[in-house]
Symmetry: C3
Subunit: 308 residues, 3 copies
Amino acid sequence: MKNFVSMKHYSKHELLQLIKLANDIEQHGIQPFNQQLFAANLFFEPSTRTKMSFVVAQRKLGLEVLDFMSDVSSVKKGESVYDTAKTFESIGASLLVVRHPQDNVVHQLANQITVPIINAGDGKGEHPTQCLLDLLTIYQEFEKFSGLKVGIIGDIKHSRVARSNAYALSTLGAKVYLSSKTEWQDHSLPYQYIDIDDAVEHCDVVMFLRIQHERHENQASNDHYLEKYGLTAEREKRMKPHAIILHPAPVNRGVEIADELVECNRSRIFKQMTNGVSARMAVIYRLLEGGGITHEKPINQRKAIISK
Amino acid sequence: MKNFVSMKHYSKHELLQLIKLANDIEQHGIQPFNQQLFAANLFFEPSTRTKMSFVVAQRKLGLEVLDFMSDVSSVKKGESVYDTAKTFESIGASLLVVRHPQDNVVHQLANQITVPIINAGDGKGEHPTQCLLDLLTIYQEFEKFSGLKVGIIGDIKHSRVARSNAYALSTLGAKVYLSSKTEWQDHSLPYQYIDIDDAVEHCDVVMFLRIQHERHENQASNDHYLEKYGLTAEREKRMKPHAIILHPAPVNRGVEIADELVECNRSRIFKQMTNGVSARMAVIYRLLEGGGITHEKPINQRKAIISK
Amino acid sequence: MKNFVSMKHYSKHELLQLIKLANDIEQHGIQPFNQQLFAANLFFEPSTRTKMSFVVAQRKLGLEVLDFMSDVSSVKKGESVYDTAKTFESIGASLLVVRHPQDNVVHQLANQITVPIINAGDGKGEHPTQCLLDLLTIYQEFEKFSGLKVGIIGDIKHSRVARSNAYALSTLGAKVYLSSKTEWQDHSLPYQYIDIDDAVEHCDVVMFLRIQHERHENQASNDHYLEKYGLTAEREKRMKPHAIILHPAPVNRGVEIADELVECNRSRIFKQMTNGVSARMAVIYRLLEGGGITHEKPINQRKAIISK
């Protein structure tokens, strides 16, 4: 693995290996890297959850964290994403984590920059580490993917999470259904659209998406959204006994999911967050172990000048 | 101690123990925690002094620091304080330090969240770690509280510092006086209001409060404030020989205190800042040692997955 | 060395020592300090490159980093730079790195504050660590300064980089030429102005300056700037065979330098960034070793209370 940019790039075997590594890290821990390495988090969009999850993952692996703030930075001076990334590489970063509002920027960077790049969300493209944490959560619940029915429900069109999950779940043998109001459907994705009530009743995993108000030109009205397209208490009662609820968060409580269901027995929403740390540790570990730094050899002589 | 939210919760004995622990840490140091733990600093109001003081305290205790910026975060996406706090707990924080512009938010959180919470200032409520550093400063000077006269002077009504100090100093046996212009008096506090000139002449400790311009609807005019209600050079001459000057800072120089007095012999204003680090170390230590992490046992298995 | 504020303060011998220390650190590394020390980065102007370069340098030396954000801080409450700096000193910082939009602020601070101060850019004054990394880059190329012709080209008047470099290069025995359009010339500097074409043809080092749009009252028009005053592909062909290109970055691609030349064989622009880390490590090391902390003695008992 050189970069971690799209879930499309991985086979069933590779995905399972990554999920199992994440699960193993969560259960047994892992030795931090044995030399001083720097990770740069380049978030060109605001983020709490994802960025903080990466920071915890990085610190648990013993990495130093460089926090780039696009709003107080050279971006104001008109610097390109490429030049920013190259700058961080030049000052010694061994890993770049990049979020960007445009769909293709992270893919481009991955071809231009030498050090590994993790896509932390690119426009309406993908969000592969969020996907991996979802997969980990499903795996911990069912210990398999093949034959599982997963409903992805909500704002499909604007959701990078939906895209990454649909690709990976299909690869893993799950049956993916989409559910969305008409104007939020994306027919470039080769999956069946079904009614919210069917999705809730027949799926083993119901994954609600956040309404991305910040991505909509006209602020979508929330009027009756919950009743029409969200998880009401009434719908929850019709879920299969073992079925679970996922949401990438932050939840618009009372919009995608009824307030009182956010922390109900079926909900794995906060467990997803916990899993996010292990999932990201697994990805970072895989990207950096290739450089040999887990086996006492420096990934790059230039970057290891301190430790003697 | 589960949380550190209000000075009202502590007995004289508990306060003295905390002050002495802080003093001991300042003089002799203390061993950092022996495992990797994360503290999250959730400041929903801007802060330099308090936040940086917490960071130094946390790093001296060996804690990892997660820095939440409310202005570049999910708060913009409408997330509640509870969901933000729960997120940090989910990704592995063992301690939350919370500042919030509303009076009751931190108290509520303390009842909802499992990990310890420190109130770093809540609206016009309390600011207990600022209080503790004031107590430490007074203790280092006088080695007692009983019988001391302490004048708290200025914008009482909008000051969480005044509130925390008045509670704790009374508990410790000091005699608290308040001094304020009429519109800034708070008569819910059971302490005597006296004239600024009386306060300055008779008190052993004169504690000036910052004018919280940012909390006033109409920007208060500073015209003649110093002469009428502040510490002029002339008033300083009438202080008792051993009396000291405190201020939570940042000082509006020439408003609450004459510029040239900010670093005069009686002033403990920068000593207060130094003491803030030890005071916060003491609080954090007390909150986390309960989890056993000072005695080689992990506070929470889930959070200690790395060290093997 | 007590502070690092201006390149005017150093003799040829001192500069060479510093350059060689930086070069040595880059090639062989250096032991981190053996105690917990805090560095505070006080940037009153936005910065990515310089700030991040300092952070990497500080972490490689084992320093803790306190990151001050002027836009979310007490500065909003009207606090002076002096009081901010004194606050960081009071909470335990052993080193302050200061960038400020006004020319004289850092010099003043250096006289008022006890702990060492590094000037990370002050208005149109100086930027000595940027200068040191330029010197290191030139030294690595030519292994000498005396007799070298260095052309500093562009917005001289608004450039602190130009000023620091002109002083230091002269001290080191290089011949400094300036090239600028008329309104950006600064005739207080005692160096000869020459035409851009002469500079490019005759200099061993051509150092282009960034157009500081953010410092100009009227946004300067970039129309034909490259053709008139910048490095075109045509001009690059007329450079001496061994001559190199420097730029403090971020480059306005296609304005100061043709896009395709930014990473050409002659360009040392990204190498400069890499060198920035070593240069800053050398400066920090020199400033702090004076306190004895490289020889097992604490620089200040008060600041070393933890480690036993």
